[in-house]
């Protein structure tokens, strides 16, 4: 009989104890698995979100949060200059503003209005109903608007609806004239916040709305750049910085690295602390159970040693007991942790101000490998003390003690 089989028989001889141990490891393992998903999930998801946009360099006027950034002036000329760089394949001007939208018979709602250069919309939203802004042959007297699913629901909009839009003037009563828009489509926006109402229009439409607040402006909130694949985003960012040293150009890697150092550091630390605690619990649980089990079987082990079973064989059997407990519990922990991660992700994604597509818990093969490695280390570590007790057991003294007791 192999050590593995002997360990299995020893565990199943006490089914209640084995089940409790496996359940304990499964619960702890699920938490550990979730912490590992969390430790890199947000970063992976953020990176994925950036890559989805199809642009790998972002040009902005200053560092800092988007809402506090200064717009880039003379955006059209800048886009032209950038597109002539050999490192650059495609350039899109991105505009964003807060506006108020009003439909007859309904209370006005605050909406984020965006505009991207023609052709860039394919990376920014996906039409679910109606048509896109740049659909050929679609002619209307009014400016065109694509609205998010949420906005369509809130204002009861469908393709063909008409609404009025004016810019939001913070802290003042606005008398800026409204611009009439025609909804041509409903879309899912890649970067939309979970709690945000979003709409997109053409550059003309955007400028017409803004004209009331800032006539004649030619600004961009950001310029998005797709680099030449052969040269890479880092080269493109360097070329842009050389061309326009007054602007900040960041590759996706740099944006992710900044995010990793700043905003994400909290999640990483929390995940590290909670992972360590869960590992500690798993270690204590298995070590305690095995130690108690060994102490209850000291005479049995001494007898086996007297019969000629080697220390290595006893140690291997105990290691297998630990492996069975941690292995079965750890396997059960995966679906349990997966379900828990889905629920926790749903709760966290409900936080205001986060892109709807951003996830906190992202499954990665790396997380599974880390999980397995940590469980193996924990299983071996937890078995170390009971193995030491069993291997160093004085055979004669233990047998004598058993008879005397």
């Amino acid at each position: 009989m192999t050590s593995r089989a002997l360990a299995w028989r020893a565990l199943t001889a006490n089914p209640a104890r084995a089940l409790l141990a496996v359940a304990g490891v499964a619960v702890i393992g699920a938490l550990l698995f979730d912490m590992l998903l969390l430790s890199g999930g947000l970063l992976v998801s953020f990176r994925d979100l950036l890559d989805t946009a199809g642009y790998d360099v972002r040009v902005v006027a200053t560092d800092g949060l988007p809402v506090l950034r200064v717009p880039i002036p003379h955006a059209t000329a800048l886009a032209g200059d950038l597109s002539r760089l050999p490192e650059v394949q495609e350039v899109a001007v991105f505009r964003m503003d807060r506006v108020v939208m009003r439909v007859p018979g309904r209370r006005p709602d605050g909406v984020t209005l965006i505009s991207v250069s023609e052709g860039a919309e394919r990376h920014t939203w996906r039409i679910t109903r109606g048509e896109n802004l740049s659909t050929a042959g679609y002619t209307l007297e009014r400016q065109r608007l694509v609205v998010s699913e949420r906005l369509a629901t809130v204002l009861n909009l469908t393709p063909g609806s008409i609404l009025r839009v004016r810019p939001t003037m913070t802290g003042v009563a606005s008398a800026i004239p409204e611009v009439e828009f025609n909804v041509v489509g409903v879309a899912e926006f890649e970067f939309a916040m979970a709690d945000e109402l979003t709409a997109a229009t053409t550059r003309d439409g955007f400028e017409q709305v803004r004209a009331g607040a800032a006539p004649g402006e030619d600004e961009a909130d950001a310029v998005l750049v797709a680099s030449q694949a052969a040269l890479g985003s880092e080269a493109a960012a360097r070329a842009i910085s050389r061309l326009r040293p007054n602007l900040r150009a960041y590759s996706n890697e740099q944006v992710v690295a900044q995010f990793n150092q700043n905003g994400f550091a909290y999640f990483r630390q929390i995940s590290f602390v909670l992972s360590s605690i869960t590992l500690g619990f798993a270690f204590l649980l298995v070590a305690t159970l095995l130690t108690v089990s060994v102490n209850q079987r000291l005479s049995e082990m001494a007898a086996l040693r007297a019969l000629g079973f080697s220390r290595r064989r006893i140690a291997a059997t105990l290691l297998w007991e630990s492996a069975w407990l941690v292995g079965v519990g750890g396997l059960l922990a995966l679906p349990l942790g997966g379900l828990l991660a889905l629920e926790l992700d749903r709760i966290l994604r409900g936080m205001p101000g986060l892109p709807e597509r951003l996830h906190f818990f992202v499954f990665e093969p790396r997380a599974i490998m880390q999980y397995i490695t940590l469980l193996i280390v924990t299983g071996v570590g937890a078995a170390a003390y009971p193995v030491w007790v069993a291997a160093r057991l004085p055979i004669a003294a233990t047998l004598r003690r058993e008879v005397v007791s």
Partner: protein, 224 residues
Amino acid sequence: MTAIVEGRDLTRAFPMPAGPVTALRDVSIAISPGEYVAIAGPSGCGKSTLLHLLGCVDAPTSGSLVFEGRDVARLTERERSRIRLTRIGFVFQRFFLLPMLSAWENVELPQAEIGINPADRRMRTRELLDYVGLSDRGHHRPSQLSGGEMQRVAIARALANRPALLLADEPTGELDEDTGEQVADLFDRVHADGTAIVVVTHNPVLAVRSGRRLAMKRGTVVSS
């Protein structure tokens, strides 16, 4: 005839907080092949200590022990384990069968440990269970057996690897008189089949069947 095991001037002292306690003092003993030796004496006289030394599960504080021509003190832990596994059989007062294994598996276990192939193991296990009269109880766990049956399974386990020496420490200590007599009969058969036996016992029925009786007192052999 060369002894299977020979101890010379064996002394075993145990360190205690109040000072060392000498359980065995200058005992010399030799067990020849096929011999049947009973060791008797009051509790605490050193019988089990002597048995443990002869079985290579303990080491003397002084004196020498030679097992089949090899100085046990010079052997590694692994080599001593190998001797116990292949050349010595142990029978304990409290049986110490593995409770999660059936009688059959308990007997098979030492054979598996030395790498006997499954077919030969099955044959030997069947033979041994038949030998101890438990061929119909092979699939029963120890908890489903009586004390006498457990001890018979333990004897079968001890004989599994055809040892040259069978050591038994109070093998009838947990059994009633009738069952003890059955176990004694079994030891007679084992002895008759050529295995040397050393049995530590308080049971006169068992002691009287041996070929040589040693009486111990305060760590020494007082009569032989």
